[in-house]
Amino acid sequence: EDKVVQSPLSLVVHEGDTVTLNCSYEVTNFRSLLWYKQEKKAPTFLFMLTSSGIEKKSGRLSSILDKKELFSILNITATQTGDSAIYLCASSMDSNYQLIWGAGTKLIIKP
């Protein structure tokens, strides 16, 4: 059965800390892994990863994919209270356009 597992499920840190969120996957015919940040109603897209070992960066956020070990991490450095959100990862498959979603990591940044 295809699945995506995120850890931890929740995390509380102080402003300025660095956090690492994990996403492991077991997906048939894996194509890509996507990270989203969910605040309020609609998740916003962060990264799409298709190649192993190539880091994608956007400001203080970065992500990398390991296709051999079947996982991805999302790093946030110098965290700010505005980073508080639920972070979702999802995997897409070659066979169709459906996504398999993880349960999310709830990140709380304390001032």
Partner: protein
């Protein structure tokens, strides 16, 4: 728990045809959402519902209708399909507005 289920997985429509995308959740969540995701783009909210009998427009509601007669079901209706509605559609549900959304696997729709 099946979570959020969507049917069909894939559908081809001709321009002007209508169809209903089904979404069901068995987690007793009050909030349900419909999104579309176009290639290379993020999710865009079409409609959402905060409970049975209550629906509201999201970012891109034109060309779609929804209903929420029960807590479990939140169907999305396309009345006159247009090529611009070719997309992948995701349904999601959550217990509260700022709580984790649980997504269905998606429906790929092709309008030709």
């Amino acid at each position: 728990n099946a979570g959020v289920t969507q049917t069909p997985k894939f559908r081809i429509l001709k321009i002007g045809q209508s169809m209903t995308l089904q979404c069901t959740q068995d987690m007793n969540h009050n909030y349900m959402y419909w999104y579309r995701q176009d290639p290379g783009m993020g999710l865009k909210l079409i409609y959402y519902s905060v409970g049975a009998g209550i629906t509201d427009k999201g970012e891109v509601p034109n060309g779609y209708n929804v209903s929420r007669s029960t807590t479990e079901d939140f169907p999305l209706r396309l009345e006159l399909a247009a090529p611009s509605q070719t997309s992948v559609y995701f349904c999601a549900s959550s217990r509260g507005l700022e709580e984790t959304q649980y997504f269905g696997p998606g429906t790929r729709l092709l309008v030709l």
